[in-house]
């Protein structure tokens, strides 16, 4: 095998990293959304029990969190590297821009990946600070004391500023996934006349489901809470 540094430093290898880490995070997001569907309920017990169940993994959860952070950082680093390389490869741009259409897959989503990505990164930092490291409410279910995260979430989304911020940034996550999902396959060499159109459609579907699913939570809570 070539030295890993050489593979990862190449234009092709860099995109393997971006693709694999991106795909891993898509799976994380799907799981995250499935769990969060419990937030649509006004009853705090199922959601808090789910949270308590995750926390009961103890050290395994901490390892998983570190793995997720490593995946995220690798994705961010490769993304920034592509963006910087792009600037260096064409320091002076076209005076008149245009789109060729036809076979092109260049879209608003594909040309704003670095911005939607960085926005999502900033969103994540604030998101984790708001909830994971937010105020610790507690509740007791069947004699078990557990964190009442449901209360914190519902409290947070009674604030319209949070609702607007979540809806706005998650919309960009949707755009990021719209180009990102099918891209992971292309970057890993997965392109096939029979399956590529399907992968492309699945990518759009996943982008819409994830964005709409997450965006619905703050909106739903804002209008049904209080």
């Amino acid at each position: 095998m070539l030295p890993l540094s050489k593979i990862l430093g190449s234009s092709v290898g860099k995109k393997y990293v971006m693709a694999l880490t991106g795909l891993a995070m898509v799976f994380f997001l799907l799981e995250h959304l499935l769990g969060n569907f419990l937030l649509y309920s006004t009853d705090p017990v199922p959601y808090n029990q789910y949270g308590h169940f995750l926390i009961s993994f103890g050290n395994i959860l901490i390892v998983a969190e570190f793995v997720l952070i490593a995946i995220l950082l690798a994705h961010v680093v490769s993304g920034i590297s592509v963006a910087l390389g792009k600037k260096a490869a064409r320091p002076s741009g076209y005076r008149q821009s245009g789109d060729a259409g036809g076979a092109s897959k260049k879209t608003f989503a594909s040309t704003t990946m670095i911005y939607s990505g960085l926005l999502t990164f900033i969103f994540l930092v604030i998101h984790i600070k708001t909830f994971k490291y937010g105020p610790e409410y507690a509740m007791t279910v069947d004699g078990v004391v557990m964190r009442d995260l449901h209360k914190l979430v519902w409290e947070t989304f009674s604030n319209p500023v949070y609702v607007v911020w979540y809806v706005g940034t998650l919309l960009f996550l949707g755009f990021h996934l719209r180009h990102g999902f099918w891209s992971t396959f292309q970057s890993m060499g997965g392109n096939h006349p029979r399956y590529s159109p399907l992968i492309h459609s699945v990518g759009i579907f996943i982008a819409v489901v994830l964005a709409a699913g997450f965006i619905g939570i703050p909106i739903w809570i804002y209008f049904t809470g209080a």
Binding site: K15, A89, R90, Y94, R95, G102, S104, K106, G189, N191
Partner: protein, 251 residues
């Protein structure tokens, strides 16, 4: 014969080190039967008659096979016609009073030599790095001695139709040379004659492509849309698979 008047904005640049800019020209009596390059010839004759400096632009065959012509027309490499090089574009596309902006390929790896002419020798160096097969001298081998199925031959031929024009780089938002490099890697990976140097080829060509200062591929597929030979990004995917195999198996 139908004629029209066009407002042209053409990139003029004295040499590599000077900063260029768009210069406006009005050209009357342009025939709809002219090719795009003939229209520029007429403009150049007018400039020469006025003791001006004619506009430099690359061209040779003027029938879409040499890969020399290289203009970005209204922001699109090779202009608005899909599957056509600049020289194959005809003025019937335009109408009286249209404004047309003409710029050179823009990439750090392709310095402007003058006006619309850029230096594309970076492509030659990518080919020299591995885009060939080595043949032993001696008696000519039998034609068709190595069987190649029709579908494989077709796909290799699609890749081999690359004329090296570099519109893919010009159109890529990242100025990546992936489509060109992949077309050659793919062509030779498909054919048995390319197999002895297969792994070495992809590693060397990708390394050369990176060192020339092209950007990374972000899968916009804008290259496929402007490519005069409509070469598919599926060849880029093959390059990625070839690279993966070669990088893992390398000693």
């Amino acid at each position: 014969m139908e004629t029209m008047t066009l407002n042209l904005k053409v990139w003029r640049q004295k040499d590599t080190n000077s900063t260029g800019g768009l210069v406006a020209y009005t050209l009357e009596t342009v025939s709809t039967h002219m090719s795009f390059l003939e229209m520029l010839d007429v403009l150049n004759e007018k400039l020469l008659a006025e003791d001006g400096d004619p506009i430099e632009f690359d061209n040779d065959c003027r029938e879409g096979i040499c890969g020399m012509c290289s203009l970005v027309i209204n922001g699109v490499a090779h202009g608005p016609w899909n599957g056509a090089a600049t020289c194959q574009l005809h003025m019937r596309e335009y109408k009286d009073g249209d404004t047309i902006t003409i710029e050179p390929w823009r990439a750090q790896a392709f310095p402007v030599i003058k006006d619309l002419v850029v230096d594309r020798t970076a492509f030659d160096r990518i080919i020299s790095a591995g885009g060939y097969v080595s043949m032993n001298a001696g008696g000519a081998p039998d034609a068709n001695a190595i069987p190649i199925s029709k579908s494989v031959a077709d796909e290799a031929m699609d890749a081999a139709s690359c004329i090296g024009c570099a519109a893919c780089v010009a159109a890529c938002p990242n100025a990546s040379a992936s489509l060109f490099t992949a077309a050659k890697i793919s062509q030779l990976a498909l054919l048995p004659q390319g197999h002895p140097e297969r792994a070495e080829r992809v590693l060397l060509m990708v390394e050369q492509m990176d060192s020339e200062g092209f950007g990374d591929c972000s899968n916009h597929a804008e290259c496929e849309a402007v490519c005069p030979k409509q070469i598919s990004i599926s060849h880029i995917a093959r390059m990625k698979r070839e690279y993966m195999k070669a990088a893992l198996m390398a000693k």
